[in-house]
């Protein structure tokens, strides 16, 4: 009986359910992705799928693979920040679909200060964070005072921020291209420090402290939500605005604060990528970066837990990067985005799958355990007192 009970508690454990649900979602994502590849060109499907899954392992030499592993991590850091941004807002009852916009203004603030005013990296970092936070707070204020749905406000702010940032960064772009000037030549002081981390990844010069900072941010978000008074208030406001007001919390301020923190996380993420020097911003972009949207999928895939987010963000970045190794002679160049999108799409079904697991476990196992428990009721009650 003990064994059965233990099994039951394992199966009803939130984390276990999330983990299994995530694996199921990934499996179906891969399956459908594979079917699509088969439809387009059956000959290369197996190899293409393998390339996506292998990502940096595609390179047979370990030191090269390690270098590309570093690059995947560099891109994981901003994705993790966007994931945390979405997750934090979601846990406090808000759907921050504006992480992309907050990320975009973060890019704008960081690069403009770096290229125009030759600011050092930490100034650019803080500016990016505040820019994201303020944009988030704007959506929060609209929600709190004018009852504008945060999803609508965020989507519109996404576009506003994209074109504003394009306009602003146009002033610091290279003369011959649409890209902003490379930091390495224009202002090396704005590049994030390595602190020796690059040595671990075959001297990949893009590997910086951003990776560590993103990990710390995940821990910070977890502590803030679960252990502090602020988290207690923000979550209470998210779950039940009326009860929060009744308990004397300032529910309007809390909505704005939630969106501010959420925006800060996304803004920081932007600086983690662009201040590593791995990418330059194209001022001719016509859509907001996908980071914020991938963050939504990663948040759910990670079971809506900050630590789970670290792994889900890595996985999503892993297959996104892996997509670029698909043979472009066999498949059109959009295929990598398509396949990773399909997998990401399936990742957002985690909550549904978890719900299904829970129902099944309770129906199948709950009754069995109760049957055996009845016979041992007196024993159980004695045990219950001690606990």
């Amino acid at each position: 009986m003990k064994k059965k009970n233990k099994l039951y508690s394992v199966w009803t454990n939130h984390g276990v359910q999330s983990f299994i649900a995530s694996l199921i979602c990934i499996f179906f994502g891969l399956l459908v992705g594979y079917l699509v590849l088969l439809c387009i060109n059956p000959a290369g499907a197996g190899r293409a799928m393998l390339a996506i899954l292998q990502n940096f392992l595609y390179f047979p030499r370990p030191e090269v693979a390690l270098e590309y592993f570093g690059s995947t991590l560099v891109k994981t850091a901003p994705l993790l920040m966007c994931t945390l941004s979405v997750l934090f807002a979601y846990k406090t009852g808000l759907f921050n679909i504006g992480a992309s916009g907050q990320y975009t203004v973060g890019v704008g603030a960081a690069l403009y200060l770096a290229l125009k005013y030759q600011m050092p990296w930490f100034v650019c970092l803080i500016a990016a964070m505040l820019a994201g936070g303020l944009l988030g707070a704007a959506a929060g204020a609209l929600k709190a005072y004018r009852n504008v749905n945060e999803v609508i406000a965020c989507i519109m702010l996404n576009w506003l921020s994209l074109y504003t940032v394009n306009m602003v960064l146009n002033k610091v772009k290279e003369a011959s291209t649409t890209y902003t000037g490379p930091l390495r030549t224009e202002n090396p002081a704005a590049l994030l420090p390595h602190m020796g981390l690059n040595k671990l990844f075959s001297d990949n010069r893009y590997v910086t402290i951003a990776i560590l900072l993103a990990g710390l941010a995940a821990v910070f978000v977890w502590v803030l939500m679960e252990k502090t008074m602020m988290g207690f208030e923000l979550k209470a406001t998210g779950y039940n605005k009326n009860a929060a007001k009744y308990a004397g919390m300032r529910e309007k301020r809390n909505v704005i604060l939630t969106m501010f923190i959420s925006g800060c996380l996304a803004g920081l993420g932007a600086s983690f990528l662009y201040l590593s020097g791995i990418e330059q911003w194209s001022c001719a972009q016509t859509s907001v970066p996908g980071m914020g949207f991938n963050g939504i999928a990663a948040a759910f895939l990670g079971g809506l837990h900050p630590i789970g987010s670290i792994f889900s963000s890595f996985f999503i970045q892993h297959i996104t990067s892996g997509g670029s190794y698909v043979d472009k002679m066999v498949y059109p160049s959009q295929i990598s985005d398509l396949i990773s999108s399909i997998i990401i799409y399936f990742c957002s079904f985690v909550l549904l799958i978890r719900y299904m697991i829970n129902e099944r476990v309770i129906n199948k196992m709950g009754a069995d355990i109760l049957n055996t428990e009845e016979e041992n009721v007196s024993d159980d009650e004695k045990g219950g007192e001690d606990r």
Binding site: T12, T228, M229, Y239, N240, A243, Y246, G248, A367, L370
Partner: protein, 516 residues
């Protein structure tokens, strides 16, 4: 055997940690009103959900007209002619009465709605059973009583033979309750079989033919209502004798704790004031009760007092300090406790654990927070455990139970524990016994009186006249936002109160100084 419209034999339904129905048998005769009585968590709702196809029982069988049936989902139940009026209505607010009635079974021709026939049928049914409703009125514009009649019409329109009423009187005024009783009797006379779920004994005595009692998931017995007494029923339900008479000594009013002067609260959308020029005092050591029919400004009065709504004018003095423009938190810290009328909307964060709900009013105090703003989990757990024990709050997993999964009565006990333990000067209790069972009502009334005897000022808002008469030391009647009478419960009759509550009579309510 054949005269049972529905027979549920030896139904057992288990959930993890609880046996909701343990070998329960229920026999509903054709054309009878059969009451189903039990405390919160006795398994009434589960049994009805089994009958309605929402749950599958582990054991037991269901027979309709002597024939064994399988009910896998609500559609099966509908096909068998079983209909249900839920406690919380399932109506589309912005649709008309007629649209709601035909929802799901719309008569169509080539894809277009054909409402004329439906309207004719609804009008006929409405006339036959004296269900006066305007088919074109929008649900959001009509009273709760009329919404309920819409739900009844929905069942009749679908030609249901077995009608389930889940605590139908909880939301109604006294007048509307009488009307509903009449409607139920008419329905039974026309051959409909009615299952009436309730824990109000006087209603069961008045309207039902037989009554089945459940206790803690077990079948206690079925009795003919004519052969029993409310006392006998309640001891069947609770398992011990319950006193209806609230034991209390004489009040011993001390100094004024709450002093309300010329208070006005503005109505929504520029309508007239919902609380208009209200004056009253509550002293320490007395229970003052605001009586009135629902919707006469009692809720807004309390929102104004607690700070949930702004005053249009007037002053509120709490223990000698003007708090009229203080925020909610400040009023709470200065000694106001508030047991809100809607525990789901205001009283609890349903997705929080029980322990987090227990500290909802005090989480910011040094007892639960370190100086760096971190929660003291251990103190919270200890505090919650103490309250759970002292107030006998039952739940499946103790402090870590998610509040949503608890029964209504225990949620209410948790709210009451939290508010009383705060040791307030002024305790505001709004319908504290709404939707809780007899045992819990007794407990709550005792707590209110204990608070009074401990020298607290207690302001009680109640729609139940029994409660008003039994618990209070002084009664204020509210009608259309104004106080229209002040009474001593020893010297006034229920009938007299009724006249004031319906606006037929009024008197000037004097402040303490004017009395002297």
């Amino acid at each position: 055997m054949d005269n049972y419209a529905i027979e549920m034999r030896h139904i057992t339904k288990r959930f993890p940690g609880i046996i909701a129905n343990d070998d329960i048998t229920l026999q509903l005769k054709k054309g009878e009103i059969h009451a189903l009585l039990g405390e919160n968590g006795a398994g009434k709702s589960t049994l009805m959900s089994v009958l309605f196809g929402l749950y599958q029982p582990e054991e037991g069988e269901i027979y309709k007209d002597g024939r064994k049936v399988e009910i896998h989902n609500p559609n099966d139940a509908n096909a068998l002619g079983i209909g249900m009026v839920h406690q919380h209505f399932k109506l589309v607010e912005c649709f008309s009465v007629l649209d709601n009635i035909i929802l799901g079974v719309e008569p169509t021709k080539a894809g277009f709605l054909k409402k004329d026939e439906a309207r004719k049928k609804v009008m006929e049914l409405s006339e036959k059973y004296h269900l006066m409703v305007d088919p074109d009125a929008l649900i959001e514009d009509i009273t709760v009583g009329m919404q309920q009649r819409t739900e009844i019409l929905k069942m009749l329109y679908r030609d249901n033979e077995i009608l389930i009423f889940d605590e139908p009187t909880a939301v109604l005024s006294i007048q509307e309750i009488h009307e509903l009783m009449q409607i139920m009797k008419d329905l039974a006379r026309e051959g409909k079989s009615i299952l009436f779920i309730s824990h109000k004994l006087n209603e069961i005595m008045e309207v039902s033919d037989r009554c089945t009692v459940l206790r803690k998931g077990k079948y206690v017995g079925t009795v003919n209502t004519a052969d029993t007494t409310p006392e006998a029923l309640s001891s069947m339900m609770v398992g011990r004798d319950v006193s209806f008479k609230v034991e209390k000594g004489k009040a011993n009013p001390g100094k004024v704790i709450l002093d309300v002067r010329n208070m006005c609260v503005a109505g929504k959308h520029g309508k007239k004031d919902v609380v208009s020029n209200v004056n009253f005092q509550v002293r320490s050591g007395e229970i003052v009760c605001i009586a009135g029919i629902d919707g006469n400004g009692q809720s807004e009065l309390i929102y104004g007092l607690s700070g949930l709504e702004h005053l249009k004018s007037g002053t509120i003095v709490l223990n000698g300090k003007d708090v009229s423009s203080e925020p909610i938190r400040q009023r709470s810290v200065l000694g106001t406790s508030h047991i809100p009328e809607d525990r789901h909307k205001y009283g609890m964060v349903l997705d929080y654990s029980l322990e987090n709900n227990m500290v909802l009013q005090e989480y910011f105090t040094p007892e639960f927070i370190t100086s760096f703003g971190f929660l003291k989990q251990a103190s919270i757990r200890k505090f919650a455990k103490r309250l759970i024990k002292e107030y006998d709050v039952r739940s499946s997993q103790g402090p870590i139970t998610i509040a949503r999964t608890m029964s209504g009565g225990n949620q209410q006990k948790a709210v009451i524990a939290r508010e009383i333990d705060k040791d307030p000067r002024l305790l505001i209790a709004v319908q504290p016994t709404r939707g809780v069972d007899v045992g819990a009502i007794e407990f709550i009334h005792k707590q209110l009186i204990a608070q009074r005897d401990a020298g607290k000022a207690v302001l009680l808002v109640s729609l139940e006249l029994d409660e008003v008469m039994n618990v209070s030391d002084r009664i204020l009647v509210m009608y259309e936002g104004e106080l229209v009478g002040e009474f001593d419960p020893e010297k006034v009759t229920v009938e007299e109160l009724g006249l004031y509550m319906t606006g037929a009579r009024r008197q000037e309510v004097k402040t303490d100084e004017e009395k002297e």
